[in-house]
């Protein structure tokens, strides 16, 4: 089965062709265009993102097909990101992909962007299969999931305020590193010392069964960095150490909570997904923490950023089960992950 994926949930316009053969998914063509204009504003401007998607969507899709050496008619189905994300941005890719399927008389499936991140590592890690614990970390989301089977997702915990990627961006702004902040902080932290003592929010909750056991919070950490920046008399000299200290604090919480869930559930696999999973220190620390107990599956940076290959991979799985979306499919900024069992005091305990 050859599936065309379309992704436009934020500031990347992406199209991809993924082929699934005997249950194995592989990328035949993938194009990702990142909209640089948002750097000027220090964050994504939804209207500009939507306009840029309109300009780019046809060319990106044509290039993905050309890279795959395929004509449009060779596609067996179309998968589009239906949410969550910026509605105006989602709308462009969704309408474009939906219309391609309609005009080609091919099946259509709307895909949850976060579920797409769960499928991203399957494009490179052929041994990846549930059960596993997944940590999804991006600029918009931070959540820990128990994945006993594809299509069944149990929420273990999520952020109570800022997403991890949002905290990286905000701290990068405090440190005058520009946008997006994640890569800049990682680079700077590599040469810094962890001499500032920042809190590890909610880490102590791991010892207390309940709904906050696997919850995250980053706003207090960000405020602690703000205070340290204001107290600094030589920010240029302190900048790398502040970045390192912040990154250590954020990653400590992410790594400890993920490892705890893996060990408690008795799983042998952990998955990292989302833009923050591009942070090499995160994967390295989690691998070190789980050494001998579980392996860590993480996609390459190109497949961890927002991309259409992961949407096509997830879509292929749904299409293979006979699932179809109607021609009245609409984007939703709060689209829940399909099959997600919500957090209750019982599930997280």
């Amino acid at each position: 089965m050859r599936v065309l994926g379309i992704e436009s949930s934020c500031d990347e316009t992406s199209a991809a062709v993924v082929t699934v053969d005997s249950g194995r998914a592989s990328v035949e063509g993938l194009v990702i265009l990142s909209q640089d204009v948002h750097r000027i504003f220090g964050g994504v401007v939804p209207e500009l993102a939507s306009r840029a998607h309109v300009q780019a969507i046809s060319g990106v899709t044509a290039q993905a097909l050309a890279d795959a050496g395929l004509e449009m008619n060779a596609i067996d189905g179309v998968a589009v990101t239906a949410g969550p994300g910026l509605v105006g941005a989602l709308l462009v890719g969704l309408m474009y992909g939906k219309t391609l399927a309609f005009a080609l008389e091919r099946p259509l499936v709307g895909v949850n962007h976060l579920e797409g991140h769960l499928f991203a590592p399957t494009l490179e890690d052929r041994d990846l299969a549930p059960p596993f614990v997944a940590l999804l970390v991006s600029g918009g989301h931070t959540m820990l999931l128990d994945v006993p089977a594809w299509g069944t997702y149990r929420l273990l915990g999520a952020t109570l305020d800022d997403a991890a990627g949002e905290a990286f961006d905000k701290v990068a702004t405090l440190l005058e590193l520009g946008y997006p902040g994640g890569p800049a902080i990682e680079r700077l932290a590599a040469g810094g010392r962890p001499r500032f003592r920042f809190p590890r929010p909610l880490l102590q909750e791991l010892e207390r069964p309940g709904p906050r056991r696997y919850a995250f919070s980053f706003s207090g950490l960000k405020t602690a960095v703000l205070r340290a920046v204001r107290a600094s008399t030589d920010l240029a000299a302190d900048r790398a150490d502040l970045a390192r200290s912040f990154q250590d604090a954020a990653l400590d919480v992410l790594v400890e909570k993920t490892a705890h869930a893996v060990e408690r559930l008795g799983y042998t696999t952990a998955l990292l997904g989302g833009g923050v999973a591009c942070n090499r220190a995160l994967a390295a620390r989690l691998r070190e923490r789980l050494a001998g107990a579980a392996r860590v599956s993480v996609a390459s940076p190109r497949l961890n950023t927002d991309n259409a290959a992961m949407i096509a991979a997830a879509g292929a799985w749904h299409l293979g089960r006979g699932e179809r979306s109607g021609w009245d499919l609409e984007p939703r900024d709060d689209l829940p992950i399909p099959g997600l069992l919500p957090l209750t005091s019982g599930t997280a305990a």
């Binding site: 640089d36 306009r51 060319g59 105006g88 709308l91 462009v92 391609l100 309609f102 005009a103």
Partner: protein
Amino acid sequence: MRLALDTATDRVSVALDAGGVVRTAEVRGARRHAAALLPLIGRLLGEGRTTLAALDRVILADGPGSFTGLRVGAAVAKALVAARGVTLWTAPSLLARAAGAASSAAPGAVIVAAADALRGELYAAAYRLWPDRVGVVEPPRVWRPDALRRALVAPAVLVAELPDALWAALDRWAGCVVQGDAAAPHAADLLALAARSGALRRVEDPDIWEPEYGRPAEAQARWEQAHGRALPDPAGRSA
């Protein structure tokens, strides 16, 4: 076979010309464009017992108007072009509106078409329509109501759907006024415009084409005002 789409307002309007038989369908209501458009096209294809395999040409009202509505129409039109290899033609949304009211004016009379542009302003354009051609008196742009009234008031026909506050600002309009449902743009009017030279533009490169939004994005406008220069490459991107 020709398919016309107008999504620039709170209506989704579709018209299909199959072998000279024109079928139309419409849904009204803001935020219904995404869900309604393809089912409407499917309904017309079914009524005409035809398929998109017979499609030659897509005609789209390309703005100005609702940013979101315009993007829905643009994405659908681009995908139809990519999937079926058809040509894309556009006309200003205000010209479609003017064409719908052409019977209210003498041939060659000035017709001013207007729509709400929010912030107390309106999108407006002025045309002269003859049975075989269109003349542009004022191309579509944003107007303050008082400036429009001074520039174009008489003896023009005004065809517009506007909120009460904008009608109040135009209350001394001396010409004929067409408003309400009679002033609504319909996709069938886009089909009819094809008979008038100068009405439709062929889009040479649909891959990079975008609608005529009528205004820059708010953030872009603020940035340009603050910096006194154009935003560098608003659609800038890297692979």
